[in-house]
């Protein structure tokens, strides 16, 4: 029997968790306080949020994993203990880590452990080593499909079991940003600006344009692309059947610093793709359609990473995102009328008119994208809503003051 793969989505805030749930994720992963690799870039959760994350995920039948994947120093150990006690108390399903202190404490507290990609596990001996303390191992992102397959085959052949007693599971990244260094081994940001990527403070030194100059002659070398350190993003929607066939158990989407609409779109595409493989309806036409949808949200251009055995990386051609759509902030939530299921929003910038596509993000909705057909502004039918206006529209879930309203526009790239 074919095994069921798990789709694991990133969550940097509560609206992302809801988006992941709506889009059909089987599990989410999140970070708290300063002990995760996205401390600079995401809003982040606090220790107090652990309970709410657990309750929300479990009520929706998905798993929640806590990422504690930074380098740990002695001064972090007490905080680490406090966090792990909360994990235990609220039954978070597992901790993802690469530091031995975290692994040791998880063992002590009997908390299921997943070995992070930061540990760069690249062969079956290493997998066997980690099986003694974990249930899932996230492979290094630099392996090829063949190498993955050899590892999963070895797990079955040698009957390598994790702490739970079940066969050890293998997790791989399927989508999102790639690192120009072997994951977790990059010190560029630390050297350039004291900002350690391994403490979640990466300033993305690699994402800039560079020139190569001969120091002796001062002559500039000609290179065909100035973004020589910035790999394109990983996208495996076109080879997802091969990944599943390689025997991996968990498919992970990168992006804890991305917004709810990103989580929604990417998770949904991969959900559909996995289900299509399952149902035997995975076709080239569908792949093309998914690729088009994936391109609408943040990306640096796509390639299949190292999985197909490319000898060198593919590099970004321009700064920032190549997304084909852009969201423009227009306002925030104000009130909700539950009986008639209508939400009220304050327009704070720009304007909206009938025909515009809007995006609402918030902890109750995740990310909802829809087209405005008619407008009710300040209680009356109108053709346009401007700054200072109150816009009401039907919304299925409760609108909160923390909700954000955006206009979606097409982004044209030269």
């Amino acid at each position: 029997m074919k095994k069921k793969v798990e789709l694991l989505a990133p969550a940097g805030a509560f609206d992302c968790i809801q988006a992941a749930i709506n889009a059909g994720a089987d599990a989410i992963y999140f970070g708290v306080e300063q002990l995760n690799m996205r401390t600079r870039s995401s809003e982040g959760f606090t220790i107090e949020d652990i309970k709410e994350v657990a309750v929300l995920c479990h009520a929706n039948n998905i798993k929640a994993y806590l990422t504690l994947n930074t380098v740990m120093y002695d001064h972090d150990l007490q905080l680490l203990r406090i966090i792990l006690n909360k994990v235990k108390q609220h039954s978070i399903d597992a901790v993802i880590a690469a530091d031995f202190a975290v692994m040791q404490l998880c063992k002590e507290l009997n908390i299921p452990l997943h070995v992070s990609t930061q540990a760069n596990v690249s062969n079956s001996e290493a997998v066997q080593f980690f099986a003694g303390m974990s249930d899932v191992v996230v492979l290094a992102r630099e392996l090829t499909l063949q190498q993955m397959k050899a590892i999963t085959r070895d797990i079955e052949r040698k009957n390598i079991r994790g702490v739970s007693g079940e066969l050890l599971k293998i997790e791989v990244f399927v989508h999102g940003a790639l690192c120009m260094a072997v994951s977790g081994k990059c010190y560029l940001s630390l050297h350039a600006q004291n900002a350690s990527a391994n403490r979640g403070a990466c300033v993305q030194t690699c994402r800039r344009a560079y020139k190569v100059t001969d120091a002796e002659t001062g002559e500039e070398l000609l290179i065909d692309n100035e973004y020589i350190l910035s790999p394109k993003d990983l996208c495996t929607i076109g080879v997802i059947d091969q990944l599943i066939d390689a025997g991996v158990d968990v498919l992970k989407i990168e992006g804890r610093s991305k917004g709810a609409e990103y989580v929604q779109t990417v998770t949904q595409c991969y959900r559909e793709a996995i289900d299509a493989v399952d149902a035997g309806t995975y076709t080239q036409e569908k792949i093309a359609a998914w690729e088009q949808r994936l391109a609408t949200v943040y990306n640096r251009g796509f390639w299949e990473g190292y999985y197909l055995g490319h000898p060198t990386g593919e590099w970004t051609k321009k700064p920032g995102s190549a997304a084909t759509e852009k969201k423009i902030y227009v306002g925030k939530g104000r009130k909700y009328y539950p009986k008639i299921k209508v939400g009220e929003f304050n327009i704070e910038s720009g304007s909206l008119k009938a025909g515009d596509t809007i995006l609402i993000t918030g902890r109750r909705h995740g990310a909802v994208k829809e087209q405005l057909h008619t407008l009710t502004v300040n209680g009356e039918a109108a053709v346009v809503a401007n700054r200072g206006d109150k816009l009401t529209l039907p919304v299925a879930t409760v609108v909160l003051p923390t909700d954000k309203l955006y206009k979606i526009v097409e982004e044209v790239h030269a």
Binding site: L77, Q78, S196
Partner: protein, 73 residues
């Protein structure tokens, strides 16, 4: 009088301030963040009146802190 300000809630506990100026900074074992010694703390912001010399000694931290939560006023 100059003032060192530390926006403690955004500190990521990387330890650079303590490594560079151990006379004025400690890493808290309680929550893993940096603590400006002898400072008054108001709503997670630490404030310390200092003389010119101490201000000078800490000036390089403004740029050294990776999340820019140390300021001189």
């Amino acid at each position: 009088m100059p003032k060192i300000v530390h926006y403690r809630n955004k500190c990521i506990g990387c330890g650079i301030c303590y490594q560079q100026q151990p006379l004025y900074w400690r890493m808290s074992k309680k929550d893993g963040k940096a603590t400006l010694l002898n400072a008054v703390t108001k709503k997670d912001v630490q404030l310390l009146d200092v003389n010119e010399e101490t201000a000078e000694a800490n000036r390089s931290l403004i740029a050294a802190c990776p999340v820019r939560v140390i300021k001189l006023m």
